[in-house]
Symmetry: C2
Subunit: 148 residues, 2 copies
């Protein structure tokens, strides 16, 4: 069971890079090279993140991408939702079988509870938090701002 697909993985890494260099435009090429993400694939992801108001872009030479939102307001739960769809345990598990003739379905309830736990965990981890964790780890042995 793969929790994060490549799309989400790549998107997080791109955002970490954008979040580490605020105020300047980073090109898709630069991100692709630095993070070892397939160029055209990454561009699709960046477009998708523009549509979701996470980043902005500037066209033309010296153009690129920049964070639009505060990194602390980008939980990875949101990225999972964008690139993998909302967390759902299964389309309508148990419903036909068990919930047909009663209002409340304990199984579905149980399953939904887990769904919420999972989501809340992914909500706690934001791009901002990851950047700080990363800086702290880098700070032990390197100057700040590094990613490798």
């Amino acid at each position: 069971m793969k929790v994060l697909t490549k799309k989400t993985d790549y998107a997080i890494r791109a955002l970490l890079m954008l979040g580490s260099k605020r105020g300047v435009y980073l090109s898709a090429k630069a991100i692709s090279t630095e993070q070892d993400i397939p160029y055209q694939f990454l561009r699709g992801l960046l477009q998708e993140m523009i549509r979701h108001d996470l980043i902005i872009s500037k066209e033309g030479a010296q153009g690129g991408f920049m964070l639009k939102k505060d990194p602390d307001e980008i939980p990875i739960a949101q990225l999972i939702e964008i690139f993998q769809g909302k967390v759902q345990v299964s389309e309508c598990m148990f419903r036909k079988q068990l919930c047909a003739n009663r209002a409340r379905c304990v199984l579905r309830h149980e399953i939904m509870r887990i769904e919420q736990v999972v989501n809340s965990e992914f909500d706690k981890v934001t791009i901002g938090k990851l950047i700080r964790d990363l800086d702290a780890a880098n700070g032990m042995t390197h100057g700040s701002g590094e990613t490798a």
Copy 2:
């Protein structure tokens, strides 16, 4: 993001049925009909569960399947692992990028922590617990042992 695939979903339902009728062999056909699971597909799942020592079978007329383990010792985490593979956040997320030259990787640590939370939640829910929840719900309006 789909947490349970059809395989896991069907397997859980089959086990709930087997767990509700202990001591008798239920045929794949009976389970398939009752639970509305594609017959041959179900048979594959049952074989897989035999291999994992969850159930036993008896061949021939009046044959079928029976639980081998105590329902309380079958967490759905195990079924997810069997039919969808171990829960993993991503193949080796962040490792190349961030962990190359240091022992500890805070990001990976963060991600692994979530992995454990998810797993522990799925460990808490066993087939036995689901059967009891189900019986309790049925008991409110029906005789016990019903599944629909």
